[in-house]
Symmetry: C2
Subunit: 251 residues, 2 copies
Amino acid sequence: MAGNSSTPGVSVASKVFSLLEAFDTQHRSLSLSQLARRAHLPPPTAHRLAAELVAWGALVRRPTGEYVVGRKVWDLGLLAPVNAGLREIASPFLNDLHAATLATVHLAVRDGTEALYVDRLSGHASVPVVSRIGSRLPLHATGVGKVLLAYAPEDVQGVVLANLVRVTPYTITQPGRLREQLRRVHAEGNASTNEEMSLGACSVAVPIRRGAGGPVAAALGIVVPDLKRDRPRLVAALSVAAQGIGRSLAF
Amino acid sequence: MAGNSSTPGVSVASKVFSLLEAFDTQHRSLSLSQLARRAHLPPPTAHRLAAELVAWGALVRRPTGEYVVGRKVWDLGLLAPVNAGLREIASPFLNDLHAATLATVHLAVRDGTEALYVDRLSGHASVPVVSRIGSRLPLHATGVGKVLLAYAPEDVQGVVLANLVRVTPYTITQPGRLREQLRRVHAEGNASTNEEMSLGACSVAVPIRRGAGGPVAAALGIVVPDLKRDRPRLVAALSVAAQGIGRSLAF
DNA sequence: ACTGTGTTTCCACTGAGCGGAAGGGGCGGC
DNA sequence: GCCGCCCCTTCCGCTCAGTGGAAACACAGT
């Protein structure tokens, strides 16, 4: 910034980012003072910068005076590679999969030590699940997470295995047991969970490889109330879709 | 900005926006010099600001040196009301509709004088269509567009009717004919197109009303190769889904 | 009428931002 | 191999854009 700042060394750009970061799933609309507090900026500064953001369309100011994230950010976000590449290519396959099984279908990538849900499809006949598009869930308690973890670098595995948070009574919290499961993911080509993330929900997932036998780029999973009945059928459907997505990814 | 600028009167924030605006559907990844040119900034300035954007995660720098939009922007965009409200609520209905018809399903809102496609579902069995999520198409040549236009304010209708661009030989370009069609949208509760946007594609669409008989918040449409055969069946399915979405929107 | 909270405007001070110039680095032409 | 070209990156002295406390303003609640 220029001049009279109480905290020198902070750039204008970083203040803009602070303002944007003030918004999250729990805070989708903020008044000016909330915004200023959450961004750690004095109200006049927040006011001036927010006005610039509104002018550009990054924020929208409601008649009530509250700020919400604007359409322009959504537009821009659609250009991010996570969306533009993977998601667009996978979309028709997810639809086919959902049409065939009527279960909730998930597409996720690994983001650090979490599973990032890039797309989700669920009809009314599906089990209710916690995940939403854009949400991040632990790698050790979800089907897609276990797949992503199995193919993650050694150091990531280490961090995750050292920190197995319990979510339900069935969550696997013993590093040894999980490591054994990861070994089987490699051997069998799929991972599953039984009420480890949310009670009443089981899942199966398979890796998506860029091209044939290439690196694992994402994971494709499905959530059902019960896995006993038709696990083989689901794995077959998942594999076919994953192969198709992988082939398309290779262009 | 502070100091030595060649074009005084331009704020830092607006330069950040210029950089972000340099990206669009045709330009998803840009080298530094391209970025600087498209943002109308001197290379050193672009370089410095881009580095800040990368540090925050708004941009990502590929090993090749090219910049792409980062995941953080995508994350933020998901918080925009257009996505958070309408899209999440409508998603299961779109899936059900797609499962029932196997056609391409569209959810759109009016953005000025264009139709903004908020969500799109298409399987492999569907007709290929030009629209993508986030794309904007003319109001007069698409099914959802006609619905949105029929319920748009008088001044918007005026602007659109005065500027009917031809897209295919079947596009309606006579204001009188279109106005007659809009009248029928109100009377019959649905709009359709016959190869007016792309050859070989026809569409039907219905309005989505917030609550029962409330204002039109969006339009729900479907694209098929031929409309003659089962228009009544499609309209019925669309109406049911639109009612459901509208009821959910009212909370 | 009074107090408190949130919003907006004002304005004098100053260091953050600026970008031309110059220094690498990579590639293709000859 | 050597040269020329383009792109990327760093440097650095000049200067005005950005700053935020103070104060006015708007509005509930009591």
